[in-house]
């Protein structure tokens, strides 16, 4: 693969997936600064290993696998897992971030916060399903989990998120 071909293919992939990969990194890691770094690492790695793309039409899975590995490495490094496994009393709304208003930005902030309360596996499955529109089978391929496991993760993630945000959701509905 020549340098020109490599650059052209990279530009195509970046134009199509930059926002999606960034969203994945941001919501899986949950830290914007770290997500910025990981996002760059993902595309550096993509650039260096473009010659390993074998099948047409599978580039998104290939890309998300790279992103997933980078995110997992970042998560391991920061040992965030322990914090997220903390159990919350869902009837207690005092833990929800206090905000000045109930506008659109507040809703976004609450959703960000709610996602960070999920386990890594739940959040990853939810991001792939809702942000990327991946089918359950595709999520199973990317994450390496079984199909039934993916279903359970998504169901429980959404249920937990709904229960966490229910006290404030009516304001936005």
């Amino acid at each position: 693969m020549t340098e020109a071909e490599r650059r052209r293919l990279f530009n195509e992939l970046y134009a199509e997936y930059d926002r999606r990969i960034f969203a994945y990194c941001l919501y899986v890691i949950g830290d914007r600064d770290k997500a910025n770094d990981v996002f760059q690492e993902v595309f550096i790695k993509v650039y260096k290993s473009l010659h390993t793309i074998r099948e047409e039409g599978k580039s998104s899975n290939w890309l998300f696998r790279i992103a997933r590995n980078e995110c997992l490495n970042a998560l391991k490094a920061t040992q965030r897992n322990d914090k997220r496994n903390t159990s919350y009393d869902e009837s207690d709304t005092s833990y929800i971030p206090a905000l000045d208003g109930t506008g659109y930005n507040d809703e976004i902030t609450h959703l960000h916060w709610g996602l960070q309360q999920l386990s890594n596996e739940q959040r990853e499955a939810l991001v792939l399903a809702e942000f990327e529109g991946y089918s359950l089978k595709e999520i199973a391929e990317v994450t390496g989990a079984s199909l039934s496991n993916v279903k359970v993760r998504i169901f429980r993630a959404k249920q937990k998120l709904y229960n966490l945000l229910q006290p404030i959701l009516n304001d936005y509905e």
Binding site: D18, F22, F39, Q40, E107, L111, K137, Q159
Partner: protein
Amino acid sequence: MNERIEELIIAYLHRGSTPEQERELFEACKTNAATANMLRQHLIMSLKLRQLRNETEVPLDVQNALLRRINETVIEAAPARVPSAIPARRGFGWAHLFGASLATAAAAVLVLFLVLPGTPSPPGPQTAGVTVRDTVLLTRTDTLVQVKSTRIPVYIVRNEKPAAPAPAGTAPDAADAPGVAERDTQAPVVPHVDPSDLASLQPPALAEARLSEQPSFLEQYNAMLISVEKVRLTSSDRVRF
């Protein structure tokens, strides 16, 4: 809520259900309010999360940083694709002679001895009493395999046709002498001295001895083996050291 309903809801919302499963879910929602409420909750969360997705933009500074790093990666990778890097130029050493081709090594040895300051000139033919015009040349058939010692200067001397005897008391200009035009190198030109003059300056016994010692080039060749392992010469060449 049984696991079957959970699976039906997730499959329905994420493109994993068959028409039969969809019918089964809708029937369950009609008959069970809790199932309908569960489906509603999941739909709300899906809509909210997709709204969050649209809020995600790659910051401009991150894009610029990535572009800069990609360019750096390209620059770093470029030298690695060159088959072999040109080694840095080093000073001359004897090791160069051993690693060079034979002809190059032979030429290097000869040229080096000629240009080294303070190196004594090869003994002129006049000392041997031979009326030849010797010019240090490297002939085409010379083969220098290996230099064993560099302490003894080695010269390969082409034996050219004898110059016409110069008038007594005069030494012809070297540049005018026949055969000199064939010189390949700027070797020091030895002034021509008539052997008879030379002989007259030396004790007769010594001169005679020198003449008798005038070896064939094979003998010189053998003597030269002290410093050179193998040299091939033409019949017109001689070796001095």
